[in-house]
Amino acid sequence: MTNVEKEKSNITPPSQWVDMYGDYLYRYAMSRLKNPETAADCVQDTFLAGIKALNRFDGRLDIKYWLRGIMRNKIVDQIRKSIKVQTVDIDKEDEALMESFWFKYSGIATTNPDPWEFNPRKQFDNKEFWVVFRECIDQLKEPLKQAFVLKMLEDQTTEEICKEMDISPNYLWVILHRAREQLKGLLSENWINKDSN
C-alpha cells in the first residue's frame, strides 16, 4: 500500500465531519461573510460537495484543509451572489477622485493620508490584535468589505472582481482605498480604546 493510499484509508468518515470540523469551518466562513445563516449554509454546502468529491481526495493534505479549500470557493461564490443583489453606486465624490490630477498622473488619491495612531507592525505578535483586526474587517460597509475580502484575503484578481462587481479597475481602486481608510479608522478606534480600557 502506498503512502497516499494509507492516508486515504485513514481519513475521517463524513459522519464525523460536523463534530470535528464544523466549528472550525464555521469560524472561517464567519470571518468572510457577516451573516450567520449564510455562513452555516456555506459549511453545509462544503460538506455535501466534499462527499461528492471524496473519491478525488488524494490524501496528501489533511482533510480539514481540503474541506477548507472547497469552502473558500463557496465563500467567493456567496460574495459574488450578494454583489449581484446590491448595485455599486458611484457617487460624485468618487468621480471627482478619479478625475483628479493626482490620480491620473500618479495613481494615488492623496499625498498625505492621516498617519496611523499606533504602529501596526509592532502588534503583529499580539494575538488579541488579530481578533480586533478581524472584527474591524467585519465592520466595513458593503461593498467595501466584499471588495476588500475578495482582493486581500481571497486573492481574487482585479479583473475577476471588476467583472463580478461590474465596475472599472479605477473604481475598484477607489473602493479599496476607501476600505483601507475606513479600516484604519476602525482599528485606531477599537485597538486604542481596547488598550485604554
Binding site: P13, P14, S15, W17, V18, D19, G22, D23, Y24, Y26, R27, Y28, M30, S31, A40, V43, Q44, F47, L48, I51, K52, L54, Y105, S106, G107, I108, A109, T110, T111, N112, P113, P115, W116, P120, R121, F124, K127, W130, V131, F133, R134, M152, L153, D155, T158, P169, W173, L176, R180, L183, K184
Partner: protein, 92 residues
C-alpha cells in the same frame, strides 16, 4: 527605479508580498524616498502585510475552542442528517 504610477499599479495588481523580491526592494526604496506617494503607498503596503499576517494567524483563531463563534446544535443536527442522506446516496 519605479515611478509613483508604476508602484501604485503594481500594488493594485497584486498584493505586495506576491511580487518578486527585486520588485519589492525597488518599491520599498521608492516609497521610502518619494515625497509624493511615499506616505500613501507605505500605508498600502502595511495593509497588505497586515492581511498576510492575519491569514497566518487565522489558523490559530479558527482552531481556538475559547472562541465564542460556533455552530448551534440544531444546525449541527440538520447538517449531520443531510450528510447521512448524501453519503447514503453516494454509497459511502
Amino acid at each position: 527605479m519605479f515611478t509613483c504610477k508604476q508602484v501604485s499599479n503594481l500594488l493594485n495588481k497584486k498584493n505586495f508580498n506576491d511580487h518578486p523580491l527585486w520588485k519589492r526592494c525597488l518599491m520599498n526604496l521608492h516609497v521610502k524616498c518619494c515625497i509624493f506617494c511615499g506616505k500613501y503607498n507605505t500605508q498600502v503596503i502595511e495593509t497588505h502585510e497586515m492581511c498576510r499576517e492575519l491569514i497566518k494567524n487565522e489558523e490559530a483563531l479558527n482552531n481556538s475552542d475559547c472562541c465564542e463563534i460556533h455552530l448551534d446544535e440544531s444546525n449541527k443536527d440538520a447538517m449531520k442528517e443531510k450528510i447521512r442522506q448524501s453519503a447514503e446516496s453516494a454509497q459511502l
